[in-house]
């Protein structure tokens, strides 16, 4: 079991390094460096070649790519992402507040989505292939077919404009108190929850239905165990592993959704920071946010896989999955 855990952790670390390499290559080793993409034509017209060379040296861009990558990576691993190109502010300081706000959004969403999705998924699996299941499954398809920017704007239109209950945009500062942030984040959370529930409940229903037709469940039924009991004591635990397997995809989808929702509601999070940084070509901020996003996905995936190792004796014995 320890071998499996060690193998799994080192795999995550390897992928983290590959991610960092990708993030670095995608932004830095292309024709034109970080400075070139950040400067507009107007900037270039004003600056002399000497000034450009000086700025390049100051940003460390005159060093070979491999050296820059290693220094960026060693910084990133301890949370130092360098300075921004335009204002020279430390990237870590800029993204700290937004990072907290985005984590808050992700946690609030997950806290609502997981119990509700379980509830819906279990109902659909219990009445599988009958009317309640058809209704749930069809609404789930509709639920995740609607992009966040559509459902978000629909919620704004209904609950902020036609019925002015909630604020349409988040007017708090980046470092507002957590409780105040949560209070005004009901619509953003609701927006992501719709898609998350649709995705999770479908996945759960599928896992449950598969478990419900398995031999040991049939055996339990023959032994006279009631159907509800079968669902809760046999099918739900058995569906846990396939659900955990989908954790990485769920987290990745959640983070993409959060980016869109932050834009819709002007929520001061990392997603909004990323979009602005991309549009301003502020490469160090882009690198930092994307790297942190991947860290989030890898961490959640690692946790899920470690839980699977703990839960599933077959996986434990085979010393980790390929």
């Amino acid at each position: 079991m320890f071998a499996a855990i060690a193998r799994r952790i080192s795999l995550s670390f390897l992928i983290l390094i590959l991610v960092s390499l990708f993030v670095f290559l995608a932004t830095e080793v292309l024709p034109g460096d970080a400075l070139d993409v950040s400067l507009t034509d107007d900037d270039l017209a004003v600056l002399t070649p000497e000034q450009l060379a000086e700025m390049r040296a100051e940003l460390g861009l005159d060093r070979p790519a491999a050296v820059r990558y290693l220094s960026w990576l060693s910084g990133a691993l301890v949370g130092d992402f360098g300075n921004t190109i335009i204002t020279r502010a430390p990237v870590a300081d800029i993204i700290m507040g937004p990072l907290r706000n985005s984590i808050l959004l992700a946690l609030a969403t997950t806290a609502v989505a997981i119990p509700v999705a379980h509830f819906i998924g279990i109902l659909a699996a219990y009445w599988r292939d009958r009317a309640p299941d058809t209704i749930v499954s069809t609404s789930a398809i509709v639920g995740y077919s609607i992009p966040e920017f559509v459902s978000g704007n629909a919620l704004i239109l209904i609950f902020a404009i036609w019925l002015p209950i909630f604020p349409a945009t988040i007017v708090l500062y980046t470092d507002g108190p957590i409780l105040e942030m949560l209070a005004v984040s009901i619509l953003p959370v609701a927006t992501i929850v719709i898609g998350s529930i649709a995705y999770l409940s479908r996945l759960l229903r599928l896992g449950l239905v598969e478990a419900l037709v398995s031999d040991y469940v049939e055996r339990a039924r023959l032994a006279g165990v009631s159907e509800w009991r079968v669902v809760f004591t046999h099918a739900v635990p058995a569906s846990l592993v396939p659900t955990l397997n989908a954790a990485a995809l769920y987290v990745a989808g959640l983070l993409s959704g959060i980016v869109v929702v932050e834009k819709v509601f002007a929520y001061p999070g990392l997603g909004l920071e990323l979009i602005n940084a991309v549009l301003k070509r502020e490469v160090p901020v882009v690198q930092a946010t994307v790297f942190l996003g991947a860290v989030g996905v890898l961490l959640m995936n690692l946790l899920a896989d470690l839980s699977i190792i703990a839960l599933d004796p077959r996986v434990r014995r085979s010393a980790g999955r390929g």
Partner: protein
Amino acid sequence: MLKKSGKRILRSPVTMIGIAVLTAHMAIAALAPWLTPYGSSELAGMPFEPPSREFWLGTDILGRDYLTRLLMGGRITISVALCGVFIAIVAGAFFGLAAAWHGGMIDEVIMRLVDTKVAIPSILLVGVLIPGFGQSVPVLILVIALVYVSGVIRTVRALALTIAPQGFVTAAVLRGESNLSIMCREFLPNVLDLLCVEFAIRMSSAILLVSSLSFLGLGISPPTPDWGLMVSEGVGYIHTDPWLVIYPSIALSTLVVALNLTTEGVANALGLDAARGMTKG
């Protein structure tokens, strides 16, 4: 088999609605330039005109006919998604089969690269590519291909691993057939069903992704008529002219819902599971 599947599709009203709406969308997208007398970027009237006999849905912020833009608004997104997903399917089938067939080091390298891609959420992946590669339709197509290729590799590889130990594959190896011929003649016919479902699933997800990117200002650029872009242009006027946001939202949502309902219905009828592969990306 096919006849039975067809009957099951016809019996499901939800699937039939999906197919009908999807067909209507495709017809509109194909015929859009000939449906209205205006050009999509033509300043045909005054800004914010209400619906009239001239402009059935009124005009937008710049005075362009909104119905024209609405009818045209799916074309670019659908085309980008179509091209991107097609590349993803072809490349995914190739790398997935290669990983499963060769195993060992090749498998290991391909799968670790897939893991790396999966760790980066799609919108973040696009964000990190734009500063260096710029923002254009060809780049967008390649990005879509990159986003979806990993999922295709995984599913194709998983299925190919179950095919590899079967008798007809061993027979082909013993006949001394080349790797390429084994891939094309033994594996490909057996993964074709799956590839079709994959194509449909990724297609709806890609349409969502492209329009979300356009909404964020990272996808299709103005003045192209595009639903995601139209929503982002209209959002500033949501208090006074909510229709500028509502129409493109409805157009986009009905297209994706119809596509997903159709996929689900057809996949069910063929006995395949669509749910596992469906993600928001």
